[in-house]
């Protein structure tokens, strides 16, 4: 199973990365590609750009841990995560998650899981650049709640059964 995690300043090619995951194999039946894009507005105010700061070393390690967790939970045939850092302008891509599996459910679920964890656990911070200065984006409660959905404590599993 092919798993790739990359952090880079440069743009990525989502279509190329998706094609690479299924190249030369016939067992892939589903490829899910998620691209996170820089919006031109933040909190209803126009922005000039986002600057993403990250913790080199830890960011890779944290994403790789969650990639391994995704592979443990779902029958994936391939997985690629690319997260950009540095200055990114509205309309440009920030993050890419591609998952490949024999069937769509695993590919959708794994991509959703990885994005929820990237939002709340990967050490990246977004700074907003406006005409009149810069400010840091605050973490959203909704993102924490989204990530918590994936926790699988024994207690909750028992409660459901």
């Amino acid at each position: 199973m092919k798993s790739t995690v990359r952090l880079q300043r440069e743009p990525f090619d989502a279509a190329l990365e998706a094609a690479l995951l299924k190249r030369g194999r016939s067992d892939v039946g589903a490829v899910v590609t998620f691209t996170g894009v820089c919006r031109g507005n933040e909190a209803n105010e126009p922005i000039a750009a986002l600057t993403l700061e990250h913790y080199p070393g830890m960011a890779e390690a944290e994403i790789e841990r969650h990639a391994a967790e995704a592979m443990r939970r779902w029958p994936l045939l391939g997985l690629t995560v690319i997260h950009r850092f540095g200055r990114i302008e509205p309309g440009d891509d920030i993050v890419l998650v591609v998952t490949a599996s024999s069937h769509r459910q695993a590919a959708f679920a794994a991509a959703d899981f990885l994005m929820d964890y990237l939002k709340t656990r990967a050490p990246f911070w977004k700074q907003v650049e406006r005409k009149d200065g810069t400010s840091w984006i605050e973490a959203k409660q909704a993102d924490d709640a989204a990530a918590e959905r994936w926790q699988e404590p024994a207690a909750r599993r028992d409660a459901v059964e």
């Binding site: 993403l52 700061e53 990250h54 913790y55 911070w125």
Partner: protein
Amino acid sequence: MSVKLRYFAWVRERVGKAEEDISLPAGVTTVGGLMDWLAGRGEEYAHAFENRKFIRAAIDRTHVPPETAIKGAAEIAFFPPMTGG
């Protein structure tokens, strides 16, 4: 014991530096204790660590809660809640 401290995002801006090497004073044994001690080092540190609810920590590049012991740590990082993705 000597340890490298690293700061990110607004914690870095408030402290005024990205990293520093410090000698851990006797009696500082946990991540939370280290934050208390740092907050007493001057105005910029007090400002950076004024609201612990919004500070996250990592020891040797792994997320840790404030009650974690820092014995044996080589690198301790402080940063705001993450906003990647």
